[in-house]
């Protein structure tokens, strides 16, 4: 478990190639055949898939559920947006900002870099305690962490604009940028899963005591997984902010956590392919039910608005999938394993 396995690397490469082809198709169709507003949905889907993959990186390999990744999403979105919004807009909308931040006006890479930096700091601070905790406690602790970050961004009006949120974020992300981002996240996640650190984390997931007896540092291994996952989440979240243009703290709380975790569970916790498939399934479901949720009128017939119908359908879907197949649709399998000569190793 101390060396890179060529077999695993080859399997990861095959999976990456297959996923890349699928994403490219989505991206090319989105870029060439859709209008600007539908393109936003495509970008949103690609980046959401990227964030689900980022969560999978930790949750899938460690078997520990995290409710806290959306906190990283929020931190990255705010960090990126505050670095990217033009200075004159900031002095107008957020007059209480410190000068150094108010005058900051970075481009795409620099702004996302700020988001990643912010998240890295907080990921170290949370990863240190979380990686040592009793495994059954970590979901609770990550939930607490989500509540903390939500409360801070919701109430620190001078920095974040409070509950009304942030608007006039520059529009820097289109389909091509989103495509590159999600391919990057996929590559890093697959590489991590095939790396000695990923392998060790999977060993710790299966049996922490046995893994420790083989000399694997359990806490450090979990910590590394947490960091990789948080940084990827930050990349996705920062890019998301530059596509969303305006957002508020409510978007980084319970509903989003539930949606992202639902995608992960439905597709399969143990697989990057599953994360993408789950993201696709829930995105399609949400688009289909969106009209129903807001109330629909066909001719003279009008249906009342059904608040939360998307969540309800998602929850029922989760229950169904878990009862049918507790490991999710793909379980631990990657798309590469399903292709002929994909080199299945798990």
């Amino acid at each position: 478990m101390n060396r890179w396995s060529t077999l695993r690397l080859r399997a990861a490469a095959v999976t990456f190639a297959a996923l890349a082809v699928l994403m490219l198709v989505v991206g090319v169709v989105g870029e060439t055949m859709l209008g600007r507003s539908d393109q936003r949905v495509v970008v949103e889907f690609l980046l959401t898939a990227g964030m689900v993959i980022a969560i999978q990186c930790f949750v899938g390999n460690s078997g520990i559920i995290s409710f806290g990744h959306v906190a990283f999403f929020g931190l990255a979105a705010y960090g990126t947006a505050l670095a990217a919004i033009p200075a004159d807009v900031k002095t107008d909308a957020l007059p209480a900002l410190p000068d150094s931040l108010a005058s900051l006006e970075l481009g795409l890479i620099g702004a996302v870099g700020v988001g990643v930096l912010v998240v890295t700091v907080f990921a170290v601070a949370t990863g240190a305690p979380f990686s040592r905790m009793d495994v059954s406690v970590v979901p609770m602790a990550t939930l607490a962490w989500l509540v903390v970050i939500h409360a801070v961004i919701n109430r620190w009006n001078g920095l974040t604009g409070g509950p009304t949120g942030i608007s006039r974020v520059p529009d820097l992300v289109g389909v091509p940028q989103a495509l590159v981002t999600v391919l990057f996240i996929t590559a890093v996640a697959l590489l991590y899963g095939a790396s000695p650190w990923g392998l060790r984390l999977q060993a710790v997931r299966e049996d922490p005591v046995a893994a420790a007896s083989l000399g694997i540092p359990v806490a450090l291994t979990r910590f590394i997984g947490w960091m990789v996952s948080a940084v990827l989440m930050a990349v996705g979240g920062g890019m998301w902010a530059l596509n969303a243009l305006a957002f508020s703290p409510a978007q980084f709380f319970f509903a989003e956590t539930f949606a992202l975790l639902a995608m992960l569970v439905i597709g399969g916790l143990g697989s990057v392919t599953g994360a993408v498939a789950g993201a696709a399934a829930i995105t399609v479901l949400s688009q289909l039910l969106r009209d129903l949720e807001n109330g629909l009128s066909i001719g003279t017939l009008s249906l009342p608005a059904l608040p939360g119908i998307i969540q309800l359908a998602t929850a029922v879907l989760i229950l169904g999938v878990l009862i049918w197949r507790p490991g999710g649709a793909f379980g631990n399998r990657e798309i590469g394993d399903l292709l002929p000569r994909g080199g299945r190793v798990k």
Partner: protein, 297 residues
Amino acid sequence: MSLTLLTQQLINALSLGSIYALLALGLAVVFSVLGLLNFAYGEIVTVTSYGVVLCVAAGAPLFLAVVVGFTLGALTSLVTEAVAFRPMRRAPAYAVVFSSFAVAVIIQATIRNVISPRPQGIAVPAWLDRVLSLGTIRVPVLSLITIAIAAVAMVALSALLQRSRHGIAMQAAAQDFQATRLMGAKAGNLIRLAFLISGVLAAVAGLLWVMRVGSATPGMGFTPLLQAFVAVVLGGLGNLRGAVAGGFALAFLEVSLQVFLPNSLVPFVQAITLTLIIVLLYFRPHGFGRRVEGRLA
């Protein structure tokens, strides 16, 4: 700070702590038997609250409203067991986290659609709303009643676990589930009993909670769930006495932060409390109680 104010805040913390302790107990009872946390636990509080609020709004006497609320709360717990836990008996632990989480979302979305997404207020009876004056100290009647009801519920739970056949079987199950089954106890019954007890405890807490906050909302179960989690973790998982202690400790921490922090920081009390607790858990990853395998009461 004057002694009067201190006493008043002390009573406030005690009454809040009583609710947290009840909540933590209900969560810990299920954990001690199954080793799993129920993420739909907060919805027992929600459903009980709606039962009470809607009955009172319909003009039913308080007693009847309470009976309806308790029945609904206990039912919610049993249904959660049947839908989210029983089909997952052989699935990995994380599957139950998600399935119970899904049940919580289903209950919330149903309330939003069937009743209303907006808060439903409750007209708290006048005698509950009164404030007693003992010399210079002013004590809300509701706080005293909360403390009394919680104490009765805890004594009843303790008696049930130590004196009754089923209670002893549950204690045995917490120690060694397989051995208890070999002694002739039915696993399904034990688990259902645990969920029933858990549901009743949460319903009592839910009743006190809705009286305290004055209205029911679809998402109201989240805070009680989180507080119960924190209390249980602080007290050491699976340790019922620890859960009670954890509940009171959490309430005292919250109330003291509210009293002693400068006004500008008061909106951040919950965030600061949770951060402190995460820091505490860094130094004591297993909480403060002993993690006692099999000592329920």
